[in-house]
Point group: C2
Chain length 405, copies 2
């Protein structure tokens, strides 16, 4: 079967590589069918690439090739990926993608278009890189009501936090190291401000509860405010700080979803997820907690997930009925500050006395070199709005949510 | 759609419960179809059960009911489950099961019979209880060559080892506690001798590499020789002892597979899997290590996996092409002692001098209360046969494999 690849960056070139290096296993999975890359779309020139003959700068070469049935979109970004994907689906071609930005923004529309045209739009690689999560969630939780999802969804920030926690490196140093290792971009904003994790939360929430969640509905806070002082206070109580995406089911018409740093205590399966690894924990009412762990990014892990989707699309020429969510609503995602109770870590310029008069029951923390006018503590469970009210007039340095996952 | 349940023990009664309590989510996944339990087969009487009217002791009531299209087999054991399953598949009914013993012994035959008759034989619940592993392995690794699999596959033994490691409880005490909590049977042999884990290794190996592996091909060692002394030596180097099933790909015609206690060091995702939880780690050449974690047993987790398979079978009246492995061969599973190199933990009545003359490079361990004539150490990587040769004449107390997962 002829296939095409759009975008020849890290993921796209990985897709071509995995197709070629895994011919045998792919053939086994497709009952003898091979995937043959017929076109590679990229505006750049790759004169020395062994696939030089396959390159095109004209999208129509793919769109008009009737033998091409499956296309991998690895361009990233919403435009022109959205437009191209639409045209391909309307032309009766299946599209698979690792493009989380596009799925998070336009998933509901693209899935509906795929359905109308009897083809597939698959995006296993868009969340958790090579970790199988979208299919297991859709299929294996068919007999569970999902109560919530929590995930370490961004490898770059997890690498930075791991270096801060395990090697006492400052945020700036750790970011620099991540950049040197190729884990962080020159402009690391999308990672460190949580935008990347936010898109993945949108996809997971849409899938888990059947209604589209858009990035602007998910309150998102990055890790730039985390300091070694916070790390040290929490180490004393076996807590680590992770950038978590969290989703809470409230009722059929309402969920809460947000991205933020969160304290995870030892004993949680999320606490031992280090370096660039990702993990996604799904809580079902029958199955309990199930956790999926692996490399959330990287050329070959992500590419292998894209190719697995291509194999699936090649095997099922009729549309698979496994995905689908409907349009969301403006008030579908609640303001979590108002309705989700959790514990909080607070660091403030205050004395314990002042804290104790405001809070019923707190656990004070300590660290080496703690300034005499600084207090850090963990509160009881309450909403964030309640917390903020209680803290009015206190000179707060940092607040970090404590997760119950 | 009418369905039937065979066996009304823990899992079978859980299946009926999950079908009833999850009507809404099931309907959503089947496009409106409901699962209606029409028969429950059990030789025992349940006069006070609200489903009294559904019970039968006659298998033919299910076999002959043409409206029943999907049957859950939760009887356990090979007979009569094997015979019943065969007849059902031949009659054009799909069968789903949690019965690892049957799948491990007869999987290849039952899958072939399902194929011949255009129906499904599904067994997600047979490994890892509620953890989705069989589908992810089959589908999402379509573009990976699997290099190996390692798993904590038995909750009972993991509970016992966790109590020994974290609470300094003796094996006997921990076993008693497991029995009191309902985690271990009165006769705990199948768990503590590794037989249960062995069956799951067979299923995972068959699935991963496409050829049936039988329980008698998998060298199996339980946890009854593990003592608190071993636990203490290893704690000093951040190692924990887990009962692991390990599978190594060698070539198309040969794998290694065994069940044994194994040392896992901190940093491995398997090291933090505690209590009755299970975890399965799959190593792919493109994706790297992927790990699945959750409750490996228990009424509702297992039942929810069975019901998810029933939903899948109900949705796909035509046979799904996702599983299938062929007959194995007597020499398909190599003797790992001969060909797999690994490090070993050794405890012996010997002095360090005697050890050092036999081994090139060892790491000595220590513990509180260590007898003066006892030595414990971790060797370099070598085969077990080489190790045994080097240890000839040494008064060995215990040997435990060190895993590289």
């Amino acid at each position: 079967m002829k296939v095409a690849v759009m975008g020849y960056g890290t993921v796209g070139s990985g897709v071509v590589e995995v197709i070629e290096s895994h011919e045998k296993v792919i053939k086994k999975r497709t009952d003898g069918e091979m995937l043959e890359v017929a076109h590679i779309l990229d505006l750049r020139d790759f004169p020395d690439d062994p696939h030089a003959a396959l390159f095109t700068k004209d999208f129509n070469d793919i769109l008009k090739d009737e033998e091409v049935k499956v296309v991998a979109e690895a361009m990233g970004g919403v435009n022109p990926a959205y437009d191209f994907t639409m045209q391909l689906l309307q032309a009766g071609k299946s599209v698979v993608t690792s493009n989380k930005e596009l799925v998070a923004q336009k998933g509901v529309e693209l899935l509906a278009t795929a359905k109308e045209n009897g083809v597939n739009y698959l995006f296993e690689a868009s969340v958790g890189g090579g970790i199988p999560i979208i299919r297991p969630m859709d299929q294996c939780f068919a007999a569970n009501n999902i109560e919530g999802v929590a995930g370490i969804l961004n490898g770059t920030t997890n690498f930075i936090l791991t270096k801060m926690i395990e090697e006492d490196m400052s945020f700036d140093e750790a970011l620099r190291l991540a950049q040197e290792n190729g884990y962080a971009e020159k402009d690391p904003t999308a990672d460190i401000e949580g935008f990347d994790a936010c898109r993945k939360v949108c996809i997971l929430a849409s899938l888990a509860f059947g209604k589209h969640v858009y990035p602007n509905q998910v309150a998102t806070e990055g890790i730039t405010n985390i300091t070694l002082a916070d790390v040290a206070y929490l180490a004393g109580v076996h807590g680590v700080i992770k950038l978590l995406g969290q989703i809470f089911y409230m009722n059929e018409n309402r969920i809460a979803a947000f991205v933020s740093p969160a304290v995870v205590f030892r004993g949680s399966q999320l606490a031992s997820v280090n370096d660039v690894f990702n993990a996604i924990l799904v809580r079902g009412d029958a199955v309990g907690d199930v956790c999926f762990y692996g490399r959330g990014a990287g050329k070959l892990p992500t590419a292998s997930a894209v190719v697995a989707d291509m194999v699936d699309a090649a095997k099922h020429t009729e549309r698979r009925k496994i995905f689908g969510w409907s349009e969301g609503a403006e008030d579908y995602v609640a303001d979590y500050r108002d309705c989700i109770e959790m514990q909080f870590y607070v660091r403030a310029k205050a004395d314990q006395q002042a804290v104790q008069t405001r809070f019923h029951d707190v656990k004070f923390l300590s660290r080496r070199g703690q300034p005499s006018d600084e207090t850090a503590f963990i509160t009881d469970a309450m909403t964030e709005n309640t917390l903020r009210k209680k803290l009015e007039g206190v000179d707060v340095i940092n607040i970090i949510k404590v997760t119950n996952y």
